[in-house]
Symmetry: C2
Subunit: 458 residues, 2 copies
């Protein structure tokens, strides 16, 4: 039997999961695997960077799931610091450049996996490349930030952006003893929540000592005489800063794919079929932060860069490439995060998402507690549910609370996947005992209120 | 309009939830509500008693959700310390006895709710009524136990039974500084788990300093010269005890219902329809610990005494009695508990349950962690999944772990309700961030392993 060659572009979660799964199914005599990674690290947890910077994770290497050597021991030909610069679809080959030696080479493939991930949004503002301004996209970024912190006596940090990365980095900098200001373009922090729920996050961050400035559009980064950052400017104010962290979101890194003429969606991500094969291409797969995924609730493609999806994609691609079978049916938009003790979770559609796709909806918001009211350390939590008008179908759930709040979103995530109505949810048999829940779980209380709202709306 | 009379037998969760909900829908001019409670307390949390005894809950009254006075303020005629001694179905009336005055009276009803709860198993062993032997069924029991503890210098506690109440009381007594021995009839503690998962609980309890003796059938309680308990005897040993706590499970309290000729199931619980109406009786409803409920996974009626079901039943009964509409579709058998730091959860069928109803199944057991492996305080957890052979339909899930483990069972509870296969579960979009979960949630890891087991079994 002839040996096939699988080429993988990108050596992080999706790419290397695909490699590992393909290798489980096919040995090196059947399938040669060559993977290109332009960075210094493979298979690392980008989601863990805020906790490394904040000191919860003591050292960088804890964030590395599998080193290049470990991949190579499993007969995966991982070439580090080697950037793919062109995909030649017609010729079934990729051109790569060794970033150390400068050597350029073409490598042919029978099967190709594009796992190029995402790139951080970094608008071309004056001063944005000044020393002291940091992204937190990869381990090199994290190390550079830590080096800056070690060399800085100043204690003022400005975080630009109030999404997941922004609030997680706000926590990290607070833990490191900085005065933290978060500059947020939106109406409230956590644009992935509705503004009423985002407001709860804002208030909680205030109480932690994190200053959040809403509707603050950064216009430039100001530098001192030493060339280092000294402040961040918006239209009407300057915010002094000894260090600036950019958490302005990410976009699919599809420069190569676009140049190769592969199909991209409205958010710039690659479009795939259910088997994660790039649409219209029998021998090219793609997964992770560079693809768009089907949102099962709205029926639209979205860009949802999350490690958990990337790992699933990789596993599915690896199965398909290795002669097995797997599909990725889509997402419901579940995400969970925290700022210090505050837990923030969401799944499904926000109000604006529902409106955008023509769904009429009702909302119900309740306050309850994570444990029985009489149990020690019981903590308040707010649950908001969106349900479709008339049908009562669950459309989305948002939770803001303390310990025990965040992962409750999984209840709603499964209910969304199953297409349950809020009426059906009220009958769910959820785990109850005083240390774990009030006798009516907060999600059930919200579902009951949503049932009433559906009935009332008619 | 003539005023109807609703009579409720039993003033705890199911009965008083029914009363409250009926009152919300109908005012006193339309519906008179008379409720009889033989005990000293209404609407209390029996589930909270172990935490009160253990000291987590500082005082008894925290466990009372609503006092008799509060019920009366809402025009619910609650008669405390008044026992219903007969239900005359043909005459639509109940006979009651005031336990203080001895007065006996008949009260007619248009609608009747039977919410008589459960009674603890208390085998007629020699010495079982000796001072120092305690049940923990209600607040009086709890107070008597606390009085005994206050008057005892001995530090040896024997807990008879290793179900939820048994292990929770073991924790409570450990917290109070006792040497705790748990005498367990079964092969392993937590008979609601499969033995392999129960073994994990056993080991963890050992490590906490709680001695569990399995396959220990208590034969008698031994008393000292003062008449107080001094030891508990099994066939082959004596276990010295300064205090003994009985946690041997409960049975439906259906003495009155049985005498009235109402239909009982295999476990002695009342049988109802989906609207919680006693089968064959248009004007009698029943809910809470005295009924059997439909297990949606096995299709059989079971007795599942849990406050969360009782509250749902009461709410549904109150809706139906008050002219609204509600049904209780059934349960999937979810339960969660803890012993000190150990969290124990289960939903669906155990291996023996599946076998009993003719289901062939595969199992998959995995070890994972509650958070990302690199995140502080990540804790190990074991997840076991049962899936039907061939179809791969989820049949049950059991979890033993530390913080963050227990409530993950809700994911499986919703998936069971939705009739998902383990293959479908592998695609669930669950909340991921390093403080909350590994990139593959432990439930997903177990589902993946179960998929492989289903495929292998053929």
């Amino acid at each position: 039997m002839a040996t096939e060659r699988l080429v993988i572009v990108g050596g992080d979660a999706a790419g290397m999961s695909a490699a590992s799964q393909a290798r489980r199914l096919k040995g090196p005599e059947e399938l040669e695997i060559v993977a290109f990674e332009r960075g210094h690290f493979s298979s690392f947890s980008a989601c863990g960077i805020p906790y490394w910077v904040g000191g919860d994770v003591p050292e960088r290497d804890r964030l590395i799931a599998r080193t290049p050597e470990e991949h190579r021991e499993r007969s995966i030909g991982l070439r580090m610091r080697t950037e793919v610069t062109e995909i030649d679809v017609a010729g079934s080959r990729v051109r790569s450049r060794d970033l150390e030696s400068g050597e350029v080479a073409w490598t042919g493939y029978d099967k190709l996996v594009i796992a190029t991930g995402a790139r951080p949004v970094r608008p071309p503002l004056p001063g944005i490349d000044a020393p002291g301004v940091h992204g937190v996209q990869n381990l090199d970024d994290g190390q550079q930030l830590l080096d800056t912190l070690a060399g800085t006596e100043g204690r003022r940090a400005v975080v630009v952006g109030a999404g997941y990365i922004g609030v997680e980095m706000a926590e990290a900098m607070l833990k490191r003893g900085f005065e933290v200001t978060v500059l947020n373009r939106g109406e409230q922090p956590m644009i992935t929540l509705d503004p009423d729920m985002g407001r709860l996050v804002h208030t909680a961050m205030d109480n932690m000592g994190i200053t959040t400035v809403n509707e603050a559009e950064v216009t430039k980064v100001l530098t001192g005489e030493d060339g280092r950052v000294r402040a961040v400017a918006t239209e009407d104010r300057e915010y002094p800063a000894d260090v600036v962290i950019l958490g302005m979101g990410v976009r699919p890194e599809t420069t190569l794919a676009e140049a190769a003429g592969l199909p991209l969606g409205a958010y710039g991500g690659l479009l795939t079929d259910l088997a994660m094969r790039v649409r219209g291409h029998d021998n090219i797969w793609s997964g992770g932060d560079c693809v768009e995924v089907l949102d099962l609730v709205s029926g639209r493609e979205r860009h949802v860069p999350l490690g958990t999806h990337a790992n699933k994609h990789g596993q599915i691609i690896g199965s398909n490439v290795g002669g097995g079978y797997g599909t990725f049916p889509g997402i419901v938009g579940t995400a969970v995060s925290k700022v210090c003790e505050l837990e923030i979770a969401r799944t499904g559609l926000r109000e604006k998402d529902a409106a955008e796709v023509g769904l009429q909806y009702v909302t119900a918001t309740i306050e309850s507690t994570s444990r029985a009211g009489y149990y020690p350390d019981t903590a308040p939590m707010t649950v908001k549910i969106l349900a479709e008008r008339r049908t009562g179908r669950l459309l989305g759930t948002q939770i803001v609370g303390r310990e025990g709040a965040g992962k409750r979103v999984d209840i709603a995530a499964v209910a969304l996947t199953a297409g349950m109505t809020v009426e059906q949810m009220t009958a769910l048999d959820l785990g109850y005992a005083p240390p774990f829940s009030p006798v009516w779980d907060p999600v059930l209380v919200a579902a009951r209120k949503a049932v009433a709202a559906v009935r009332k709306a008619g």
